[in-house]
């Protein structure tokens, strides 16, 4: 849907037009769900996050100044809801991976030279993202896929900008190592 149509819907919704807000949900919910799924790595959690995100958007629409796109505003709300959701979930889970733990790779090893194909790389990247600890995954998804600035990411996740940058660096390193594992002889050469 063209941006100016979305902008008109936002104005109408802010003036109390419920139909306009429903239309905004219709045109953006699949996008929000995609982000929620990438952040949580779980369909059920993603559905809860999307529900929560639109409720918050509905209640806070008057505060949306319109200086960013509505989709970007929704990404930020979705990221915040996903963070809250993951935080609650992890309170009840004791086996959470710490950021420094190695990520277990249970996939069959494959020759990096066979991974040249971009779509194959993309498929492997989806799996590698899912295998990342949630704290690292959130930052790398928001920065490298959705292009949110460090400041916005730090705000929505309740961390400092420095922490966001450190997590981003760790996440990128893990992804690269996962997608391009060094061969044994190369590793031996490096020692």
């Amino acid at each position: 849907m063209p941006q100016d149509v979305v902008a008109d819907l936002v104005v109408a919704a802010r003036d109390g037009d419920r139909e306009a807000f429903d239309e905004l949900v219709r045109v953006t919910y699949a996008d929000s769900y995609t982000l929620a799924l990438r952040l949580t790595g779980n369909e059920e959690d993603a559905r809860d996050v999307v529900q929560d995100a639109y409720l918050r958007a509905f209640r806070g629409l008057k505060r949306f100044r319109g200086d960013a796109q509505f989709s970007t505003w929704m990404y930020r709300i979705t990221a915040n809801c996903a963070n809250t959701h993951l935080g609650k979930r992890n309170k009840h889970r004791h086996e959470e991976l710490s950021e420094s733990d190695p990520v277990a790779d249970e996939r069959p090893s494959s020759d990096p030279e066979l991974q040249a194909d971009a779509s194959a790389l993309r498929d492997r990247l989806e799996i590698a993202l899912e295998a990342l600890p949630p704290k690292l995954r959130q930052v790398v998804v928001l920065r490298d896929i959705y292009d949110l600035p460090h400041e916005a990411i730090a705000d929505e996740l309740g961390i400092s900008e420095t922490a966001a940058k450190v997590r981003l660096h760790r996440a990128r390193k893990k992804l690269r190592e996962d997608l391009f594992p060094r061969r044994l002889e190369e590793a031996a050469d490096a020692v």
Binding site: R18, F21, D22, V25, R26, Y29, A30, D31, Y33, T34, L37, R38, E43, A46, R47, V50, Q51, Y54, L55, F58, R59, A118, L121, R122, L125, E126, V140, D144, I145, Y146, D147, H169, R172, K173, L175, R176, L179, F180, A190
Partner: protein, 119 residues
């Protein structure tokens, strides 16, 4: 300079957020391992950016659930504002009655004083 000294900067250099210094650039130009890492980071970043336009289809029913939740929240809000409106009207009425009572008392007291002064 060793590859390990540079490892931290390569990930940031791949997206241009960090510029490598002259010494670091010279090392990368001569080091196949660092060049390979840089290329790998760039491929990872390029692939992630290509995922930006991808939409993962939600299971059916999500849209209906979201809209139903919003409907419920909207109704709750309407009921709340109605109650608040009634509360405001009640308090306003109470304040008006109190003010009228006070004004009446003042008028009555001043009239009584005037009668007393006249007699």
């Amino acid at each position: 300079m060793r590859c390990e000294d540079l490892a931290d900067d390569l990930a940031a250099a791949a997206d241009g957020s960090v510029l490598l210094g002259r010494q670091e650039r010279r090392h990368v130009e001569q080091c196949l391992r660092c060049q390979a890492e840089l290329v790998q980071y760039r491929r990872v970043l390029r692939t992630m950016r290509s995922m930006r336009t991808e939409v993962l289809e939600p299971a059916p029913g999500l849209l209906a659930d979201v809209l139903a939740n919003l409907e419920e929240a909207g109704e709750r809000r309407a009921v709340r504002s109605m109650i608040q409106g009634r509360k405001a009207a009640y308090l306003g009425g109470l304040a008006a009655a109190t003010a009228a009572g006070a004004a009446g008392a003042i008028v009555f007291a001043s009239r009584a004083r005037r009668l007393r002064d006249a007699s």
